[in-house]
Structures are given as structure tokens and as C-alpha cells.
Symmetry: C2
Subunit: 432 residues, 2 copies
């Protein structure tokens, strides 16, 4: 039953290699002097870090982006975010489509894996829909934010800020050009800014599959189980976060709502994260860890994974099979959800342990764990330790961001295990 040697690369592996290639190219472009403002010197590790952070749509930064990077550098970052948000597979197909090339079966398989689809039927249509709807949404977002930025900037600068901010929000990247690691704290009271950004984040983090399903179905009962789970979890998590941040961190309703939305993967902030209470930071870690929805620009273990996990615990408690919305949830989904949870848990665990071993007692455990969860869930919030980390720690964070961006989807799209031990007797292990 063994596979022949010299096998072809699987779509999964190509996705990984594609992501890596884009990160490396980005790091080289960001290392060029033309990418920097005059007088700014950027170490290669920082160029690599920013590139990885952009492609993984994380938003953690080791240098002040606004201060350091020239217009060229910022444009490179924006393009890296766009590419990272779309996903490598879509990029390949998009270019093929734009260049009028034939999209062959292996490329369609790509898309199927990248968007976690159950069949390759209609993959081209999906890519087209993704591209067009992304463009329209980001154009509208840019227009809305232009008027906010216009109050403080020249028309050209306002447009630049609005465009960058919209790309960063819709792709859940969380990068900003405000300078001084301030994120959107200056716009804490601006309802237009907060709501536009929040809507972009939610649309980007919901996943194209669900957006298409909503556009097509229009009624709750005709939505797929997947879409219903995503909407239900999104609503529940946003509400919980909103209430928690209001009650525990005493934020205004607008700030609490924005923080609840942005913590789940975008990583903008309108309030100072480092000033949160320990309970607030811990709760934020939980929101970050859960993250956005599959097939979206967001990270984390995902809303549907969380739902499947809760369903499994529920079935244990009530001794019923896992079922929701009058559908049984397949055992394979449940197992994959648990595997995603375990892998994510291990990445955060060994990531944090590595950082603690490298940095010793320099940073609080809370700040280190927060940084790791934020990197893994591609959120980008931080207690402010990123710029002062040692080079080795920066490499660790880059690896965590990469694992967080491609890990869960790789598990989700992995094929079923082969029955390779047919001769073995099955035996249960004593658990607990």
C-alpha cells in the first residue's frame, strides 16, 4: 500500500512552498534601500519579519512601519497583504485568468484545497466571485475611510491612508501607517472609522464561501449548515467580547464593539492593549485563539472548529450524537477539529516555551504568551514587546505566524488516513 517514491508534489505542499516563496521575495524587496525612508536602516531579520507578518496577514511589527518604509516599501507591504489575504492558490489562478491562460485540473485542485471546498466544481466561478467582490468591498471601504482621513491629511495622503487601511482591514492584516505603534487609537471616537473598519474585518473574516452563500440564499433556512454555524458563532463571539470588554475593561460601547471584532483576528486597536487588566488580556487571548472563519483572510482555530469542539463536548454530556441544525456532524469533521486544536495548542505551547528560554526574565509571561497567541492566530495585537525581541525570538515568531497561517488549513484539507495496518487488531487505550 506504499506510495511510489518520487511522487508529485501535493497541492498542500505547493501551497506551503508558494507562501514561503512570496515571504522571501517580500523580504528581499523590503530590504532594498528604495523601500526605506531616508536615514532608516532595516536589518534583514526585520524585513523578513514584516514580510512574513504581511503575507500571513498578522500585523505584528518589529519596526515602526510608517516611520521606516517609503512609499515603495508601503506599496510592497500592501501587495503582500493582498496576496496573503487572497491565498497563494487564488493568486495563481487569478494570474492565469488575467493572462487568458487555461486553468488546468491541478490548479483547480489547488483552489479546492485552499478554500477548503468539497469538490472542484465551480472553482473558477468562486475565484472570479472572490476577486470581484473583494475589489468592490475594498473600493467602498476606501471611499468611506477617505472622508475620515481627509480631515487630517491632503487628498492624496488621505486616499493613501484610506486604501492601505482598507486593504489591511478587509484582509484582517491589522497593519497601520499611523506611526509610533499607535494603530487606530487616534480614531477611538470616530464612529465612521470604527464601523467601516469593523464591517471590513467581519466581511473579510467571514470567508468568501459564506458571503457567496448569503448572497445566493437570502433566507436562513436555505443557508448551508456551514454558513449558519459561521453566522451563529460570529454573532455569539462578537456579543460576548463586547459585553466582556464593556464590563471588565470599562470601554465605551463603540470601543468595546470594535475591540471585540478586531481581537478575533484583525489586530487593530483603538485602546492601549498593554493597559488591559490580566483578565482582559487572558480573555482577548481566548478570542484570538478562536479567530475567524475557514476560507477567510483570518486566523485562529476558526469558528467552525470551535463549534465542532463544543458539539462534541455536548454530545458527551448528553450522550447524543453530534448534531446541529438537523444535521449529524461527521466524525471526520470532529476529529479534524480536535487535531486542529491540539496542533494549535502545541504551537502556542512550544512557541511560548522557546521565547521564554531565549528571553529569560526580560518579559512577563503574560506578554510572551499573548505575543505567541497573537502570532499564531495571525492577529497582531501585542503588549508592545515585538520591537525589542532578540533576533532568534523574531525567527521563532515568524515560524509561529507561518504555522498559524497554513497549519489549520493544512490539517483541514489533509486527506483521509490510509488503512495501512490492516493486519493489526484494534485495541482501545485507557484514557483519563
Amino acid at each position: 500500500m506504499k506510495k511510489p517514491k518520487g511522487k508529485r508534489l501535493e497541492p498542500n505542499h505547493l501551497l506551503l512552498i508558494g507562501f514561503l516563496a512570496i515571504i522571501l521575495m517580500g523580504s528581499m524587496l523590503l530590504s532594498l534601500p528604495v523601500a526605506h525612508n531616508s536615514g532608516q536602516d532595516v536589518a534583514y531579520i526585520d524585513a523578513l519579519f514584516i514580510s512574513a507578518s504581511a503575507v500571513c496577514v498578522t500585523g505584528l511589527v518589529t519596526v515602526d512601519v510608517a516611520l521606516t518604509f517609503s512609499l515603495f516599501g508601503r506599496t510592497v507591504i500592501a501587495i503582500l497583504i493582498l496576496l496573503g489575504g487572497l491565498g497563494f492558490a487564488s493568486i495563481v489562478i487569478s494570474f492565469s485568468l488575467l493572462l487568458g491562460m487555461n486553468v488546468n485540473l491541478s490548479k483547480r485542485l489547488f483552489i479546492k484545497e485552499a478554500y477548503n471546498l468539497s469538490s472542484i466544481k465551480g472553482t473558477l466561478g468562486i475565484v472570479r466571485a472572490v476577486l470581484i467582490s473583494s475589489f468592490v468591498i475594498q473600493a467602498l471601504g476606501t471611499a468611506a475611510e477617505y472622508f475620515v482621513f481627509r480631515q487630517a491629511y491632503t487628498p492624496l495622503n488621505a486616499f493613501g491612508h484610506a486604501l492601505f487601511n482598507t486593504i489591511s482591514a478587509f484582509n484582517n492584516a491589522g497593519f497601520d501607517l499611523m506611526g509610533g505603534y499607535r494603530s487606530l487609537t487616534a480614531y477611538q471616537a470616530s464612529a465612521v472609522m470604527n464601523l467601516t473598519t469593523a464591517v471590513l474585518i467581519i466581511l473579510g473574516g467571514t470567508g468568501f464561501f459564506v458571503l457567496a452563500d448569503i448572497a445566493r440564499s437570502r433566507t436562513w433556512s436555505s443557508l448551508s449548515m456551514h454558513s449558519r454555524i459561521v453566522i451563529l458563532m460570529n454573532g455569539t463571539l462578537i456579543t460576548l467580547g463586547f459585553l466582556f470588554f464593556m464590563a471588565v475593561e470599562h470601554l465605551s460601547p463603540l470601543a468595546a464593539f470594535f475591540q471585540s471584532v478586531t481581537t478575533r483576528t484583525a489586530g487593530f486597536n483603538t485602546v492601549d492593549i498593554a493597559s488591559f487588566s490580566q483578565a482582559g488580556l487572558f480573555f482577548a487571548m481566548l478570542l484570538m485563539f478562536i479567530g475567524a472563519s475557514p476560507g477567510s483572510t483570518g486566523g485562529g482555530i476558526k469558528t467552525t472548529t470551535t463549534f465542532a469542539l463544543l458539539l462534541s463536548l455536548g454530545s458527551l454530556m448528553f450522550r447524543r450524537e453530534s448534531a446541529a441544525f438537523k444535521r449529524k456532524v461527521g466524525g471526520e469533521s470532529i476529529l479534524k477539529a480536535f487535531q486542529v486544536l491540539l496542533l494549535s495548542f502545541l504551537v502556542v505551547l512550544f512557541g511560548s516555551l522557546s521565547l521564554l528560554l531565549i528571553e529569560g526574565e526580560t518579559y512577563d509571561f503574560m506578554a510572551v504568551l499573548f505575543e505567541t497567541v497573537s502570532a499564531f492566530a495571525t492577529v497582531g495585537l501585542s503588549c508592545g514587546i515585538t520591537p525589542t525581541l532578540s533576533t532568534l525570538s523574531k525567527v521563532v515568531i515568524v515560524l509561529i505566524m507561518f504555522a498559524g497561517r497554513v497549519g489549520p488549513i493544512t490539517i483541514a484539507t489533509s486527506l483521509k488516513a490510509k488503512s495501512s495496518h490492516l493486519g493489526y487488531i484494534e485495541e482501545q487505550v485507557f484514557i483519563g
Copy 2:
């Protein structure tokens, strides 16, 4: 397919109620003035805490046990530890046997669940073997430790200390009568003390099932898969902990070995835990979380659960079915292992969050998380915050200890889910 209302209590529920009843009785006995040294006043919450900590064989204490409790009080604590270590089911059967009563089927079912056995055949033999071997091991341990304590105490006091310490070690309770929350730090260099205690801990934490299997089989190839997994995991984890504590905390080989053994559930310490580096504390949390083996006196998610989890990740990585020692590991075991992991994760998560919400910024996040993991895994190590916790936090810790003692075994012995949604179509959920 619904169960009739007014159903009989299941063995699982009786186990819970039994544990609760013993904890409450213990708390009342420890509240009696006769249980206290003269001049010592014990609040009910502290009596409850100590009783729960003893019955759950945890070892966290809110008061100085040696200073506070009289000989009567200490005897009550020792008996609570013995009862907690044996488990409620064995207690019922033991009394029945001692009193010459007939042990009926429902009591045998009890034992089956309590020891996580696959059938009720031979349950009485198991209880007898458990009682006799426990007695012999603890008698030998007391004898060995007597000579260590005799160097500093009168014969009677030395015997008392040796007996209490042996009971506490074999049952993985971690209580001590040294005073001043010093645990065994005074005996850091005593090889006899360290090795006797370590052997008692390992025997107690291995589980009677495996000990019986070893006594019966004598060769590796005739051991059950369960026993092999336990031995393999024990060896690996003790070695890893030993190397880590030597390398990172610069402990002597004896202290590193002892710390590696005791951290996995006993909770004694010969070095000051609060002086550990953050990396050391984090690593200790990982060891605590994994814990001992099923059917033993120890806590945590258990060695076999961890093995099943790693096996599942391995099968994902290599696209093979989960197999070890030429046996396929059943899907049900894997699912239960994941459910134990998730439940444990949630207990630690919401336990820590509750403590943070209650205590605010009084304690470091690290100390709070460490306390929660220690309580959940019934370890009893602490950064020293237990005595100063508020009453509400003490209640939270009591609940965490209880969940940690009975939670994993309840999941492990839960029956298979009923097919109650026969009419539903199965659908996979998109994960990751």
C-alpha cells in the same frame, strides 16, 4: 429511543456524589476544635479547602497544616488522603469485604468504572490486590523513611512523620507536616528520602492495573498495550523533566530527578518553586497537565491520553491509521482522549479567568495559571499564593480540584453516545 424518566443513578454519578460526601464530612471533622492545635482558628472555607485538597489528593493548602492541625486533625487528613487515593468505589467494596458483606453487581459495576476496567470480571480480586499491595508498599515506605526522620525526631514522632509522608507520597497527595510551607526542602540532599519518596510516587502514579500486569507478565512482550504505553510515557517524561530541570534550573541530578517525578502529580518539592525561571514554571505546568496514569492516585490528562493524542497527530502527519505496538488504537479511545484534553483545557481556562477576575492584579498571571493547572492536575505545587487567596477564589480552586479528580475519569468511563438522530443526514463541517 429516550430513556424513561426517573432512571436509576448511574455508577458515574454515584462516584461523584461519594467524593462530594467524603469531602463534606472531612470538612466538618476538620472544623471541630479538637482538630486544631490550641490557639489556632480555622475558617470553614479553609477546612473545606483542606478536605477537598486531601480527598482529591492535590496537596494545595491555605493554612500551615503542621502548625494548625492537632494529631486528630492530621489523622483525619491522612485518612482523607487514603480514601481519596483509593477512590470511592474501592472504599465501598473494601468495607463490604471487611464486614463480610455480599458484593453485588452494582458495586462491581462501580469498581469497573472507578478503575476504568473493560469488564466486571475479577473486580473483587482487583480490589483485594489493590488493598494488599497498597498496604505492603506503604509499610515498606514508612520503614525506609522512619530512619531518615529518626535523625531529627523522637521515635514516635519519626514514625508519625514517616507514616504521613508515605501515605502522602504513595497517594500522590503531596501534603507534608514540615511546617512553614517548606515541603521537603530540608531533605534536598537526602538520597534515601528522595529515592523512597520518588519510588512511592511512581508506584502510586502508575496505576494498580499496570502494577498487576507487570507482576503477572514479567516480560515486555506479554504486557498489555496499556502497560507498555504507561511505562514508555513514564520513562520518557521523567527523563525529559530530569534533563530540563538540570539544564534550565541548574538543579543537582538528585533534585532534578525528584522534581521531574514529583511535578507530574505528587506535588512535593525539595527546591523553592517560586524561584524557578518563567521557562521552568511553564515547563512544570506542561508536566503537571500531562500528569500520571489512569486508574492511579495521580491526576492530569494522563500519560495514555497524551500518547493517544500524539498518535493521532502522527497519523495525520504520515497519513496512516493510529497504531502502536502492532495494535490499531481504537477511534473511540482517540476521541475520548481529545475530549479529555478539551475539557481539561476549558477547566484550566475558565478557572484561571475566574481567578483573574476575582483577584484582579494582585497576583502575576504566571502564578495564577500555575495554581490552576496545579489544582486541576491535583499536583499541589504553588508559587505560594494559596494561603492569601480570597474566599471566593478558594471556592474556585476547590471546584477545579474536584473537576480535575473526577472529570477525566468520568469522560473515560462514559458510555457511547446513542444514535438518537437516525433521521438526520450526516454533513461534514469545514474546519481550519
